[in-house]
């Protein structure tokens, strides 16, 4: 503990660095906000089209809630491990940062695998995205989140490699913070998907 404190004190952040940090973090939050608008548009589209099943199956008959629960738990846990990674970075513990990043990566990958399995099952059963407007909106909304997760996974990999190579430099520490903002944001979007698409869908709302 005392060792951690001393390293923290020895780290000299100039005012220029702080200014840069604040600029980049603010910019990233603004980007997250624009991504919120993007997801909001997709949610609105889904809300308009979720009853347009065109004589096909509705969400109530399609969704496998066990699968969705597993996905949710995986993603929430990955957010937790991501948070532990940031704590490790604050404590300047390079090994633990990499360890937690790997844990986050594996949990995210498992989430993505489950999602793709769900998509495959739906598709094989004749419920592909061309079947109805409802399914088009479903695949697009959930798939866009999945695409973000994929980008996040690539980012986690490169981040872990950078920390492994260069340690917790100023740049790496800054990027770690952005990565965790991104990852938590995807978690929140998932909560909305879980509620609006799956829970309300299962209830037939």
């Amino acid at each position: 503990m005392s060792q951690n404190l001393s390293t923290e004190n020895s780290l000299q952040l100039s005012s220029q660095d702080l200014e840069k940090d604040s600029k980049i973090q603010f910019g990233f939050w603004v980007y997250i906000m624009t991504d919120c608008v993007l997801f909001a548009s997709l949610f609105a589209t889904y809300a308009v089209l979720h009853t347009s099943t065109f004589g096909g199956t509705s969400g109530q008959q399609l969704f496998n809630m066990h699968n969705v629960l597993a996905e949710t738990l995986l993603l929430l846990t990955s957010s937790f491990t991501c948070g532990l990674g940031i704590l490790a970075a604050r404590a300047k513990d390079k090994q633990k940062v990499i360890l937690w990043l790997l844990a986050t990566f594996l949990l995210g990958l498992a989430f993505l695998a489950l999602e793709l399995t769900e998509f495959r099952h739906l598709y094989v059963d004749g419920n592909g995205w061309t079947r109805s407007a409802f399914l088009s909106a479903f695949y697009t909304l959930v798939g866009t989140h999945g695409l973000h997760i994929t980008i996040g996974l690539i980012w986690i990999c490169t981040m872990a490699a950078r920390v492994y190579n260069a340690g917790l430099t100023k740049t790496n520490a800054r990027q770690l913070t952005l990565l965790s903002i991104f990852w938590h944001f995807l978690d929140i979007v998932w909560i909305f998907i879980f509620t609006i698409v799956y829970l309300m869908g299962a209830l037939g709302k």
């Binding site: 624009t34 548009s41 589209t45 308009v48 697009t140 490169t158």
Partner: protein, 670 residues
Amino acid sequence: MNNFAAILGRLNTSAIPKDKMTLGAGVSIVLVTLAVMVFLTVTKRWKWLWTEWLTSVDPKKIGVMYIVIALLMLIRGGSDALMIRAQQATSVGASHGILTANTFQQVFSAHGTIMIFFAAMGLMFGLINLVIPLQIGARDVAFPFLNLVSFWLFAAGMVLINLSLGIGEFSAAGWLAYPPLSELAYSPGVGVDYWIWSLQIAGIGSLLSGINFFVTIIKMRCPGMTLMKMPMFAWSVLASMLLVMFAFPILTVSLALLALDRTLGMHFFTASGGGNPMMYVNLIWAWGHPEVYILILPAFGIFSEVVATFSRKRLFGYTSMVWAIGVITVLSFTVWLHHFFTMGAGADVNGFFGIMTMIIAIPTGVKIFNWLFTMHRGKIHFGVPMYWFMGFIGLFTVGGVAGVVMSVPPADFQLHNSLFLVAHFHNMIIGGVVFGYLAGINYWFPKIFGFKLNEKLGKLSFWCWFIGFLVAFVPLYILGLMGATRRIDHYSPSLGWQPLFIVAAIGAGIIALGVGLFVLQILVSIFQRKNNMDYTGDPWNGRTLEWSIPSPAPFYNYAVTPVVDDIDPFWKSKQEVGHKRSTKIKYEPITMPKNSGLPIIIGGLSVAFGFGMIWHIWWLSIVGVLAAIVCVIVRTSGDEHEYTLSAKKIEETEKYYADRKLTAAKKGLA
């Protein structure tokens, strides 16, 4: 058919346009590009172009590149306009005009798309890049590298939309490509795909620029410049960028969903499968209406600077100006439905949006009065920017009133899709946006290049635009009231419309002359620059910070970060009698961003990606995306993106400017 489908997708020899006019335009673009390349090779300017311009992260240079592309696109879109006018003036009775129906549809779709996305947006981001860092006392934008990426994404979109002239065809579904017409069932060709992907790529560039300049204005103002001491142009850009941040993601989604329909057979907006075409119209206008204000707000900002400077008076009602901008920003998201009152949303919904549309005219009216009161009792100097301002006040007010007329839903049922509407929005976009940006170019040109633009040609150009506008669009108002709909390619002589269409065509010709004179103005000014040098850095007796430094502005903008305590800090410092800058200034080293070749590569990869998506050349798109991801990883892995400019170098540059000013002053005395 195509034996190389796996490699070339839908692309085969039938992609060469059959229409002679399109082919001619495509070939001439190729020839001009080749001529430019030969010129660069002969004069050995490639290296200069690469290091000084294409890879430069200096916002002033990026701004100039934006404006060059935008002016080229203004000429391209203007040629389309001339063709539309020529067609409608001649295609009557037995004659079917100069264009086939299909080519005509492509021409008016291209005209609208190119003018809004590549001419107007280009001019806007160009001026923002040139002026914003200077005006807020900053040395750069918040994210210089991202700024260059934005520019190259814009350029990539521009390349794609122009490729459609020579390879394949362009969309024939209008500038906003309403489904179900724009769906695969009714537009099976590549035209709509060209439209989608060029806008998608350019739109992402705009979104990134929006974030960048928002953060720049919020975080990088010089000490003392509180929000309520910001120049009005900076305020208008802040509001406009806020709108970009909220509106452009909606465009991204609308375009993506249409692309999914067309490429993967989804059913968002199709007529069958449960799709809902009305949702597209809602989504696209939820972006489209704020977009109108994204374009006009910076023009308002430019006029606020121009009218205060050329009236030698502080802007009247600064605070009310700021509030008016704020109100417009918020309300611009509450009026989108007035673009489709006739779609059948019901009387209550139409009533709400009609009233909101009338309300949004109020803050705009406040601004008009503020500008007029700024001139009142001012010492008005009629420079070229002021000409554009005067033209704007008249035209914009008339156009605005026409808009309020159409905000009444019953009236709109009559005027919807008529030439009255076309005349109205050209009244706003030419009279407001274009006049504003041309005023801005005339106003800030000396700050960027160090010499003023020719006054005589500038005024001639203005008169051509102004008179040409009236001759071209007043007939359209009348035709609209007579029942002529927009986008018609043929009509009966018994309607008696032809004389008015011929007058409108003549007007378009006069505007074209105005464009020509504007280009001539720039060229003549370059050749005669020795006569128009601006050694003082303050050619207009300016008020804001950018005029306090030499012209052309040094690449680091400010040698010493300025400190301000007034809305018009430079004007105030000039008024303080006996005020002298301390002769011995202590310069400090400055951290500057390094140039980078990655953005142009990302732009090139985006063209490859878009081209692959349009022609279903999947491997090309995949390679494009993966390579772009690698570029991002390479960039973010590096650390050395900055260098330090030594204090000595700054001192030398500043001394050069000071000496130059002194010699010029002596010469002036002698």
